[in-house]
């Protein structure tokens, strides 16, 4: 690695957040308005500005870490490629039939989501592989190409291929993929075994189809971003945050975008676990509110909840362990996050029945809320906060002046008048409705899973999170709210706090009793060599690499495994069986006497960066401070207190304790401390509010 500084970039619907961690451990940050038509533009502009601020040149950058919502937005807005699917004859409907369950019971009004590939673009070829992997009907590459050509003539630009039993023998899928690439070089192709070489045809088909659907969009986005970085003189590796909260090479994101749908959002949650560990908070509700969406996740006993299957849905989106119905299934490791379409940019409107609604439409970065005076005329949550005096008259470190009168006019016209309310009452109504929506996301990961939110601390971040977190905590009876340093760019900070994790898996089917331990040991050596080579290539010194092995075991005929940590000293069938039984019994309070099956050997390789964010000692570069004594501002916190004068404090110089009402500002965000709450500073520089 030439450079020494690391940059993390998180693109949201409204702002692009950037953090630069310099060699001396100081971080610089910037919120840059997003450029939704060409998201890479804000990234490139932001990096240039940040380098200038830090007094660095492009060659000083060692790596660029990146979280992006391009994948999830493509699915949410159904703006992916026109996608085709080629299957074994007789099985083109596997995708649409799915696993036939419904998310609820007794609900005859349910509607099944439209498949990403309509039936007319699902086509079949003659080929068949048996469950043993033997070819029963050979594949005719000519037929595959003819079918693919037909799809392309009908407008398809990306093709997924899934053949039965390809997990046993991928020969046909690989041949079909090669034939299409050869004949139709401009068409994107995803073979199911390239993204999920596992049994179960629906899960594999659906995962491949989502990949094919988002691939052209994500591929060209990353290519443009890399080109732009190159033009700016930055040749450092680009790593993209995946749905599991880890980081992977940009090339992987271009080929297997299905692993990157929850990019960014997951990185924030992983950052929160690092943060919790640093300050001794084991139980956190992680609340992230940006311009377009708000999300919630749970850190319980220091652990993050993850899942292997994820179904993407409109409305409230939560992973589920066994619904298999509600949306677009991806069998990829994902951090468990609930999301709702409520953010600072969510538009408030009154429906035909006279009911006030907020979202799901967002004014985003363009045209933005009315108060941005960039062409937006619709009232948003941010406009409500400005009218109520909760937000200052400039945002994002002075880069954006807010037009209070435009916000008042928009709320007056679209909400206050139709409802016959004062502008203030309309604004507080917008805020309340947004809070109720966001409380749903928090409930989805707490109350709805039987977890009592009162046992948790709320960690509030994101551009708008600190403006709403204390009110939400009160709604949910949470007693304590934590605001990290630089909450407005916390997700980007989170990426800089983590290690790179790589998984290497070797399928290893059989009975444990018969397992060849010498061969297993050799396989462990193989995996270790592969992992070390990969991590070294990504710039990690041997001393910064750790390797951990697991073996997936289960009782005979089961479909789900238990991961058993293993070292070379444990390579003995009896020892492994005993350890498996012990773990199994601790989970189910019961264990069988039956045969144990082996399924996979897994290596988790971690690359540890020397220079990373330490949440116990975050050091920010000095930010411009208005200086002078605390100012007072009139603000409307709730209906009971009405307009009140509240002190406005600058976070950089905040210390001691402060009773609410108060407003604590920094260039990346604004913390609203409601009347009756108390704010103080902890040793790590977090602001803690007892609500």
């Amino acid at each position: 690695m030439d450079g020494t500084a690391r940059i993390a970039v998180d693109i949201g619907g409204t702002f692009t957040d950037l953090v630069l961690l310099s060699a001396d451990g100081r971080s610089h940050y910037l919120k840059q308005a997003s450029t939704p038509d060409r998201p890479e533009q804000a990234v490139i502009d932001g990096i240039a500005t940040l380098l200038k601020t830090a007094g660095l040149v492009p060659g000083d950058i060692a790596e660029v870490l990146h979280g992006t919502t391009v994948g999830s937005n493509t699915l949410l807005q159904k703006q992916g490629a026109v996608t085709g699917l080629i299957t074994t004859r007789g099985f083109r409907d596997v995708l649409e039939i799915g696993r036939v369950r419904t998310p609820g019971m007794f609900d005859l009004t349910w509607k099944k989501p439209e498949p990403l590939v309509p039936r007319r673009f699902r086509r079949e070829v003659d080929e068949r592989i048996s469950t043993e992997g033997e070819v029963l009907t050979p594949l005719d590459a000519g037929e595959v190409v003819a079918v693919a050509r037909g799809l392309v003539e009908d407008g398809v630009t990306s093709i997924a291929i899934c053949f039965l039993n390809s997990y046993r023998n991928p020969e046909h899928e690989r041949a079909a993929e090669a034939a299409i690439r050869d004949a139709l070089p401009d068409t994107a192709v995803t073979s199911s075994v390239s993204v999920l070489p596992e049994i179960k045809e629906y899960e594999r088909t659906s995962t491949a189809v989502v990949n094919a659907y988002v691939l052209p969009v994500l591929q060209s986005y990353i290519a443009r971003l890399e080109a732009g970085l190159g033009e700016a003189g930055i040749d450092a590796p680009l790593l993209v945050s995946n749905s599991n909260g880890g980081l992977a090479a940009a090339k992987t994101a271009q080929e297997k975008p299905v692993f990157f749908i929850s990019s960014g959002r997951s990185a924030g949650v992983v950052g929160a676990t690092h943060m919790g560990r640093a300050v001794g908070e084991d139980n956190l509700i992680v609340f992230d509110m940006g311009g377009t969406t708000a999300s919630a996740a749970l850190v319980h006993d220091g652990k993050l909840s993850r899942t292997n299957e994820y179904e993407f849905r409109a409305g409230i989106s939560t992973p589920s362990r066994f619904i298999k119905a509600g949306g677009y299934m991806m069998r990829v490791p994902t951090v468990d996050v609930a999301e709702v379409g409520s953010g600072g940019g969510s538009i408030a409107w009154v429906d035909a029945g006279g009911l006030l609604n907020v979202g799901p439409l967002s004014a985003g970065a363009e045209p933005g809320p009315a108060c941005y005076a960039m062409g937006g005329e619709k009232p948003t949550v941010t406009d409500a906060n400005v009218v109520l005096g909760l937000l200052p008259e400039t945002l994002a470190g002075g880069s954006l002046d807010l037009d209070v009168s435009a916000a008042r006019a928009a709320i007056g016209r679209d909400v206050a008048e139709p409802l016959g309310l004062s502008v203030e009452d309309a604004a507080i109504g917008i805020r309340d409705v947004a809070n109720v929506n966001m409380a749903r996301a928090i409930r989805a990961v707490t109350v709805e899973r039987g977890v009592d939110p009162r046992d948790f601390t709320l960690l509030g971040f994101g551009g708008s999170g600190p403006v709403h977190a204390c009110d939400l905590a009160r709604v949910l009876n949470v007693g304590r709210v934590l605001f990290p340093p630089m909450p407005g760019v916390f997700t980007a900070m989170g990426m800089l706090a983590g290690d790179v994790e790589r998984y290497f898996i070797q399928a290893w089917p059989g009975y444990l009793r018969n397992a060849d331990m010498a061969k297993l040991s050799a396989t462990m050596t193989d995996l270790a060599e592969r992992a070390e080579a990969t991590l070294k290539e990504e710039g990690y010194a041997a001393s910064g690499i750790t390797l951990d092995f697991e073996i997936d075991l289960r009782f005979e005929d089961q479909d789900n495994e238990v991961a058993v940590p293993v070292t070379r000293g444990m390579l003995d069938a009896d020892k492994l069986r005993a350890r498996f039984i012990e773990i199994y019994r601790s989970i189910y309070q019961y264990a069988s006497d039956d045969e144990v099956e082996t399924v996979n050997l897994r290596l988790i390789g971690r690359g540890v960066r020397a220079n990373k964010v330490d949440f116990a000692h975050v050091r920010t570069a000095a930010q411009p401070s208005p200086g002078g004594a605390a100012q007072m501002r009139s603000a409307y916190f709730d209906r009971v207190s009405g307009w009140r004068d509240a002190p406005v404090l600058w976070r950089e110089s905040f210390s001691g304790e402060q009773a609410g009402p108060a407003i604590i500002e920094s260039s990346d965000s604004t913390i609203v401390v409601p009347p009756g709450a108390r704010a103080s500073l902890d040793a790590a520089g977090n602001i803690v509010v007892e609500v």
Partner: protein, 577 residues
């Protein structure tokens, strides 16, 4: 209702915590079970009852099982009453003592803290064999319950933590695939333990006596909401009759007749006039008849009504003793699920007169069950494939039906083809939508499914249970019926048209093709917008010929709709009515 001083947040948390406990239980069954029928198709259900046996909540699994729990737990309480001790586990499967059919083993684990009984952790699993004359123990053509397999009255599988070896050994000796059956029983045990542990956590978190008040409140709340909805329905009597094709011996139509009486905030379902009990194994015991009725009515209630015992208080079910819906011992019952589905269809047909907007047209008529059972030629290892095919929904008053969907009484899944082929000597040749099988209407029904199997083993017993072969799924509000079921044996050779219920010996290379009915339509097909018909034609869900015959929409050779020919055809069809 008594006035209780309860905290609304705690009430919400407790309600959701109960839901989470049963979902965690359901997840445990999936993770620990052995047979694909359980771990992949998800033919099981979980619930938590309080100490008096009232259902507190249900997992999102087979809904139709749970209405039978009140009768089952009554049988358990009658057998053991106050003699439970910590560490006990009771099982039963006898349809004439709380059960439904022999493959469904109910398991109850009493939950104690100290000596105080707080409730029961309950798991019902459909085992892939329970012995008897036909592999899978599901045959429609048995004539008395003694042919159907091993009957288990309420018995303690564990007594104070000690395993009842006698009972386990008897089960092991009487079933064809003992490792799978015992493995799935062990999965039930693990699941009861998880339910018990999480329920005790909840008791400790909120206090035992406080929680009792919250449970009462939740059940009362379920009752209050249910009564409110029923009170909004017009009082009166509403009758409906639907039919089963035959019992496997005769092809004589078997009527299921209901008279629903809405009286204020209470509903009575009286099945007087339904068929007497039949010779074949489709008799439904009273617990299952109640369960089916509760379920149909529950579907017409609001979504926010909690799924607990409060709902049942508002519904009375009556069926004459000796009828197909309340048979007398030793009537066979193995394939009784079919009668349950038809009971649901019948009650919904009556409800369509009460709340026309809440009820859908008939769906596929219940899952089709296909079993292949036999022994490997070389190893003599037994195999039993129990596959269940789901399904299609009928159209709603404001939306099309759904294709590729569980029957609403179950929430089951399907067996992945790759799992099926890996586990059984069977190859799947097709799994697809059945074009043109929907009922026409302003809103069309869902398409049925096709599933075609080829036997690879030397020899096997095929057992098939399907229906809606003669009586297709009905439409509502002027919508048409769906296509009826079809079963074809060796479609590329002798092409034998099979009846709806079959037990026969088959051999290597034999092919069974099942074509499931679709769902009925809703409203006048001539009012379906041309674009919607065109979209279905373009997507190859219906053929141009079907579009012309059923919807009066005429397509040119390039599949564009011809407006003039369509107008003429629609006028002609309207005039012919």
């Amino acid at each position: 209702m008594t006035q209780r001083n309860l905290d609304p947040i705690t009430l919400a948390v407790v309600s959701s915590a109960l839901d989470t406990i049963v979902d965690e239980m359901a997840y445990t069954v999936m993770r620990t079970s052995r047979s694909p029928l359980v771990r992949d198709v998800l033919d099981y259900s979980c619930t938590i009852c309080d100490a008096s046996g009232r259902i507190l909540t249900q997992a999102k699994t087979v809904a139709l099982h749970l209405g039978a729990v009140p009768d089952a737990i009554e049988a358990v309480l009658e057998a053991y009453g106050g003699t439970f001790v910590p560490g006990d586990i009771v099982i039963l499967n006898d349809p004439y003592q709380g059960g439904m059919h022999l493959p469904d083993i109910f398991m109850f684990k009493p939950i104690f803290t100290g000596d105080t009984l707080h409730g029961f952790s309950v798991v019902i699993t459909h085992h892939c064999d329970m012995g008897g004359r036909v592999p899978g123990s599901n045959a429609a053509d048995s004539t008395e319950i003694f042919q159907e397999g091993l009957r288990i009255p309420p018995l303690k599988l564990y007594e104070a933590g000690v395993r009842n070896r006698t009972l386990i050994d008897i089960i092991r000796k009487n079933v064809r695939v003992p490792d799978l059956v015992i493995g799935d029983i062990e999965s039930q045990i693990a699941t009861c333990n998880i339910g018990e542990r999480n329920f005790i956590d909840l008791l400790e978190r909120y206090g035992e006596s406080e929680l009792r008040d919250y449970f009462d409140e939740l059940i009362d709340y379920g009752e209050t909401l249910t009564r409110k909805v029923i009170a909004s329905w017009p009082d009166g009597e509403y009758a409906f009759t639907d039919y089963i094709d035959g019992d496997g011996f005769t092809r004589e139509q078997i009527p299921i007749t209901v008279k629903l009486t809405v009286d204020g905030d209470h509903v009575t379902a009286d099945f007087e006039g339904s068929s007497p009990q039949v010779r074949g194994a489709i008799n439904s015991t009273m617990s299952f008849t109640k369960s089916s009725t509760y379920l149909a009515i529950r579907c017409a209630l609001d979504q926010k009504v909690p799924n607990n015992a409060g709902v049942y208080r508002c519904i009375t079910v009556k069926a004459p003793l000796g009828s197909i819906l309340n048979p007398q011992m030793p009537a066979p019952v193995a394939a009784r699920a079919l009668t349950g589905y038809r009971t649901v269809d019948t009650v919904m047909g009556a409800l369509a007169q009460v709340v026309p907007d809440k009820v859908r047209a008939a769906g596929e008529g219940g899952n089709t069950v296909i079993c292949f059972g036999g022994y490997d030629k070389e190893t003599r290892e037994p195999f039993i494939m129990v596959d269940m095919i789901n399904g299609a929904w009928g159209a709603r008053a404001d939306a099309d039906g759904i294709e590729g969907i569980t029957n609403p009484s179950q929430n089951m899944s399907n067996m992945p083809i790759e799992t099926l082929e890996q586990r059984y000597p069977v190859r799947m040749e097709e799994y697809a939508f059945r074009e043109d099988s929907c009922g026409a209407g302003r809103y069309r029904g869902g398409l049925g499914l096709v599933r075609q199997y080829r036997l690879l083993a030397d020899e096997a017993i095929l057992q098939l249970r399907s229906d809606r072969y003669v009586n297709p799924p009905y439409g509502l509000g002027g919508g048409g019926p769906a296509a009826p079921a079809r079963n074809v044996f060796n479609p590329d050779a002798e092409h034998e048209d099979l009846p709806s219920k079959v037990t026969r010996t088959v051999h290597t290379g034999d092919v069974l093709r099942h074509e499931q009915p679709g769902g009925g339509g809703h409203g006048d097909p001539l009012e379906r917008p041309v674009e919607e018909v065109a979209a279905d034609v373009l997507n190859q869900k219906i053929s141009p010929a079907f579009a012309k015959a059923q919807f009066g929409v005429v397509f040119a050779a390039d599949l564009s709709a011809d407006p003039d020919a369509t107008a003429a055809r629609r006028a002609e069809m309207a005039a012919a009515r």
